[in-house]
């Protein structure tokens, strides 16, 4: 394994990102958003990169998390920590259901099913507007108050987001290194063989969905608190698509790849959308280029450069061992 893909190094890079963002970004909101999307892109990568499941339904869990935050913080005054736990558990539960139904089919059928489910949940949110606020969404979602007054300053909320990010990122790293994560990789590599040596493949895929959904819902709750709104847009097809694009652009060979993908997407979107509102046109072209020339994503590029400059010796050793 490349040095930069080792779990401790990956965590170190995540920590570095958390420390570096405030130095480079002027907006605490944007910095928090980068970390939130980095978290949910990593959760998406758990499915895409580690299990081989391309889910178009991540927006379901994201939207769900923000609705839980919106509903229970504004209407019932439930404490923040409990709301976050509720969002996480509900995300896991719904992801289990959606995952279990979708993995009944494989390959592209699976992808189409997740997309159709994301539409189902969108219309669910749209139809039951008493609960979700429909088109308007839920307003005035408060930020957490940890004894020192509400975090009106975006940078103080950034600290809260950063701690969440680091803890969940570490847990996901642990999951990918565990016997569970290693079995997921086996399922991705050769599902038929994984079943033939005795693994209940469906249970593993469903569990991967549950973890991914839990983390994504947590991220959705954070996002609602950050901007103070739980909008219908969070559960839209467009959100699912964006999460997936970040993940693929980042690359699927390590979890930190998703952090890179999310950061690149969010920061470029922020810059470009101020210059030209139709910047999505360029994004469309960029996606085609990634598929043609950068199939391992930005992280794949970084891996290549790393080997070129720092681990030449290792690739040499490998060649010698082959002789």
């Amino acid at each position: 394994m490349l040095l930069i893909n080792r779990p401790l190094v990956q965590f170190g890079l995540a920590l570095l990102t958390v420390l570096a963002l405030p130095l480079f970004l002027r907006s605490g909101i944007l910095a928090s958003e980068v970390l939130i999307y980095a978290l949910i892109a990593a959760a998406c990568n758990l499915l895409l990169g580690y299990t081989g499941l391309l889910s178009f339904g991540q927006g379901i869990f994201f939207g769900l998390g923000s609705y839980v935050a919106g509903i229970f913080l504004t209407r019932y005054g439930v404490p923040v920590w409990m709301v976050l736990i509720m969002a996480t558990l509900l995300g896991a539960a719904v992801a289990t259901l959606v995952g279990w139904l979708s993995i009944r089919r494989q390959g592209v059928y699976f992808v189409m099913l997740t997309l159709a489910f994301s539409q189902l949940f969108y219309f669910l949110a749209y139809t039951f507007s008493d609960l979700t606020g429909g088109d308007n969404g839920l307003m005035d979602v408060p930020r957490p108050d940890l004894g020192a007054g509400p975090m009106n300053n975006a940078w103080s909320f950034y600290i809260f987001v950063a701690v969440s990010f680091l803890v969940l990122f570490a847990l996901m790293l642990q999951a990918t290194q565990s016997t569970f994560g290693r079995t997921l990789i086996a399922v991705r590599d050769n599902e038929e063989r994984a079943a033939a040596i005795g693994f209940p493949v469906k249970a593993f895929k469903t569990a991967a969905f549950a973890i991914s959904g839990a983390v994504t819902a947590y991220g959705g709750a954070l996002k609602a608190m950050l901007i103070g709104v739980a909008p219908l847009a969070n559960i839209e097809h467009h959100t699912s698509e964006m999460i997936l694009i970040m993940t693929i652009i980042g690359g699927s060979t390590s979890l930190f790849a998703s952090v890179i993908g999310a950061a690149a997407y969010m920061i470029l979107a922020d810059v470009l959308s101020q210059i030209w509102p139709r910047w999505l046109l360029l994004l469309g072209l960029a996606l085609v280029c990634v598929a043609l020339f950068l199939q391992k994503g930005l992280w794949g590029l970084i891996e290549k450069l790393w080997v070129m400059f720092f681990q030449k010796d290792q690739s040499l050793e490998k060649k010698e061992a082959e002789h």
């Binding site: 642990q174 565990s178 290693r182 050769n190 063989r193 994984a194 033939a196 005795g198 249970a203």
Partner: protein, 256 residues
Amino acid sequence: MSPDIALTTRGLGVTYGKFVALADMDLDIRRNSVHSIIGPNGAGKTTMFHALTGRVMPSHGQILLNGTDITKFRDDERVRQGIARSFQVTSLFPTLPVSENLRLAAQGKTPWAALAPWRMAEANRPAMATAAEVMERMNLTAVHNRPAGELSHGQQRRLEVGMAMAAKPSVILMDEPTSGMGVEDIEEMKRLIRDLGRDHTVLFIEHNMGIVMNISDTITVMRLGRKLTEGPPAAVRENPDVQSAYLGSMITGDMA
């Protein structure tokens, strides 16, 4: 039932509509022996294989593994009961190292324990030990860190068999283990199967009679979905029915 019989079938049959793919198969596979099923193409070998692995549900008869009736068991349940298989077309985890392929195969015996996202893979010491043992025996220790997809064809076939062994099964089913191999690799594989038979129960199907002769303890010859004859290699070789079934062509092969 005799305790040295690992796998038994009685009156096993598979029919597809009116087509009888397999009929009246009675087999007794002795423990720690190499038992081969041979027959020309279309003899029903593959159907027999699938009926044993659970990929095809038998229409008639019974399958007993160590005295337990597994006729109705799904394929993954049969794995847990102690049936392992190797694939004819090599089926590995190509991006994972050899050691990881084997560790997974060993872990497959207790699959639910692997569902824990907090437990480290290396903590399953028995699985790690099994993987190391199998690598040693399969002569793969030198390439333990190499992704399975990058191995030579012969190494891949050995890993394929090793993965079946790693589950510590009562019976290893092998589907044409030498298919697509070069001459040297075939010799190596034959040596390996022979060696396996000392402490494992091996049942393999093969259409090339030359390959099975000097490594099998018992040979079952199939034709048209039924058992033609059965016995030790020497007896099978002399059987006139077998000679006519094979038109004398393959039996003259490698008989050393």
